[in-house]
Symmetry: C2
Subunit: 170 residues, 2 copies
DNA sequence: GAAAGATTGTTGTTGACGACAACAATTGAT
DNA sequence: ATCAATTGTTGTCGTCAACAACAATCTTTC
């Protein structure tokens, strides 16, 4: 049953129907579906949580069209002007190849500028533009609003605890 | 500075070099790069953590070639035989379109089988094969080993707290 | 019981993202 | 002067989420 064409479902149904009832288990009508070992796995919970948190971030900052990764890049550059692309990539744990496209889009929107380094002609010194600085201030306000959504979802003190537990990854 | 060709870096360096020194900030030699507002964002910490945890899961289960999503699908099917693809997708929060390819690969490996539903000829009743059941038992042992890695990384009680905080997402 | 609307599995596309490999330009070490 | 390492860039590959369309089928409604 590797590949299935347009007519495969009908054919399979006709062939295997007689056996189906004996094999099928309970109907599982509603939401009584157990997760078994999955509930004890941190990775599963974290995946679901990250999905929720990123969607809320994107929605909350939809008016300014900024995604989480773009926000992290601008924040780090704003706090450390003159960083090289390599330094930003290493600090944020993203590939330097990926940062190229991120900076391309941010530079097109006049939020970030690549300035040739004075000491190393291979590297670029990254800076926020004037427009980027005022924009980042607004992004931070919206991001703070998103963070309040997180606190509303999991509880204010739970959020604090979470940040403390995961501090070793930042 | 939207597009850059092969020669753009050299040209830009030559043109802008005189201004560079005055504009560049401190050199940021080592690892004293601040994250500014990023440290207060749960999403950033969660993203870094999920990256780490998924990589460890993949590495720990590399010998059996099972990824986190595949493991979650097999676990849910194993605990609830006869589920439809729609039910599995909804329970795990993945798109039913995505589940198609996931099940295709698992079916090719003879771990899962799609059996035509007796009551609804549109849907498939999902079951583990005999081979899939014994394989899942081994996957669970390896996943438990991965979970111990998590506990080693963030602490045993911190892991418990994390699972408790994020329980509302599972 | 026939028409209309909803559901299920499937296919396809799009875009963000991580990983990897190659390359030119440049730097630093020998 | 030469050789290895670094930096930015380009490209490809595979995973993943989101969305749209479609045929087959079920359910509702008249």
């Amino acid at each position: 049953m590797a590949t299935r064409q347009k007519t495969s479902r009908k054919a399979a149904a006709a062939i295997r129907r007689p056996r189906a009832r004996a094999i099928n288990g309970a109907a599982h009508a509603g939401d009584d579906i157990g997760l078994d070992a999955l509930v004890g796995h941190a990775g599963y919970a974290v995946r679901r949580f990250q999905l929720w948190i990123f969607q809320d971030f994107i929605k909350t900052l939809a008016t300014v069209d900024i995604r989480p990764t773009q926000y992290s890049v601008m924040t780090v550059i704003g706090a450390n002007p003159g960083l090289s692309q390599m330094a930003v990539a290493k600090r944020l744990g993203i590939e330097r190849a990926r940062l190229v496209h991120l900076l391309d889009s941010l530079e097109e929107r006049d939020l970030v500028s690549r300035i040739p380094s004075a000491t190393d002609r291979r590297s670029h010194a990254l800076h926020l533009t004037a427009r980027g600085k005022t924009a980042l201030a607004q992004f931070k306000r919206l991001a703070a609003e998103h963070e309040r959504h997180v606190a509303d979802k999991i509880g204010k003190d739970n959020r604090e605890r979470l940040l403390q537990i995961l501090a070793c990854f930042t």
